[in-house]
Symmetry: C2
Subunit: 148 residues, 2 copies
DNA sequence: GAAACACTTGACGTTAACGTCAACGGAACA
DNA sequence: TGTTCCGTTGACGTTAACGTCAAGTGTTTC
């Protein structure tokens, strides 16, 4: 059904693909974020491991700590737990969503502000009159400059 | 023109308002992110300092390091520099915007996925058939569970 | 069968972003 | 005038997330 159901990956395979180092993968394993099979001593990663890694890295990109990523992954695993466990998981999950939305708002605000500043830089003509840069959050003047 | 043009703030004022510690403010000063006036030894923060702090903290919330925040603030200050300086600033700025948009995409994807998982938790009935949780990024099965 | 690889496990080093503590200074008040 | 608050400057401690060795174990390759 899937494209390649049971492919496996070496530590270097995943490291190269996701632009990280083998050390990083071992570190994630030490932290209990991922647990590949072994062939003797050598780690063998499955497709599910790869998906987990992808999740971990995206979690990192959005600002989660490894501990937080671990907690989120645990939530998935709790999916098959008892009713109360599931409710706890759902609440933690919704909290995260709320936090992420707030973070998205911060990012949007920053983008707007930086774009405004960029436009101001690329086209000073339109701002010769004011020559001031005002923070959109507080309405305070952060700095001023003199157009030529 | 502004509401309260020339108010000042003590280190504790700002610490309390922004839910940080005085130590943090001193640290930001050590890193050259902010430079309040002095009355003798004591730091006296202006409205502009407050705006700067607000910017710093939002930068942190969106995932900037202190060094990156410092660089961004420098860009603002370069606004009044020479033409070439300004072009450099604008490029760096646009790079940042691109990165922020990518980050926003990551956040949106994470929100979608978490919301899907939340819904799955809160209403298992609809998933009794599959009982599997699939990563949206890779299409790989991350875990499975048994509905009651 | 020796060399070259890829992988392993320690274990110590590093950087960022503060926390924490000691020791001190000046105003304000009982 | 002594204590109680802010505030200050060192300076060392801490945590997270790896980096960076060293030293050893298999496997393929010439």
């Amino acid at each position: 059904m899937s494209k390649q159901e049971n492919r496996t990956y070496s530590i270097q395979d995943l490291a190269t693909e996701f632009h990280i180092t083998p050390r990083t993968l071992r570190h994630y394993e030490e932290q209990g974020l991922i647990a590949p099979q072994r062939q003797g001593q050598t780690r063998v990663y499955s497709g599910a491991d790869r998906a987990r890694l992808s999740w971990i890295l995206r979690g990192k990109r959005v600002g989660f700590s490894l501990a937080e990523v671990g907690e989120m992954l645990d939530l998935y695993d709790i999916g098959d737990g008892r009713q109360t466990q599931r409710e706890v998981a759902e609440n933690r999950c919704r909290e995260r969503i709320t936090a992420l939305k707030a973070q998205r708002d911060d990012i949007n605000a920053t983008i707007v502000e930086l774009e405004g500043f960029c436009d101001l830089l690329s086209n000073l003509k339109r701002c010769e009159k004011t020559g001031q840069w005002v923070d959109t959050t507080t309405g305070e003047i952060m700095s001023s400059f003199n157009p030529e």
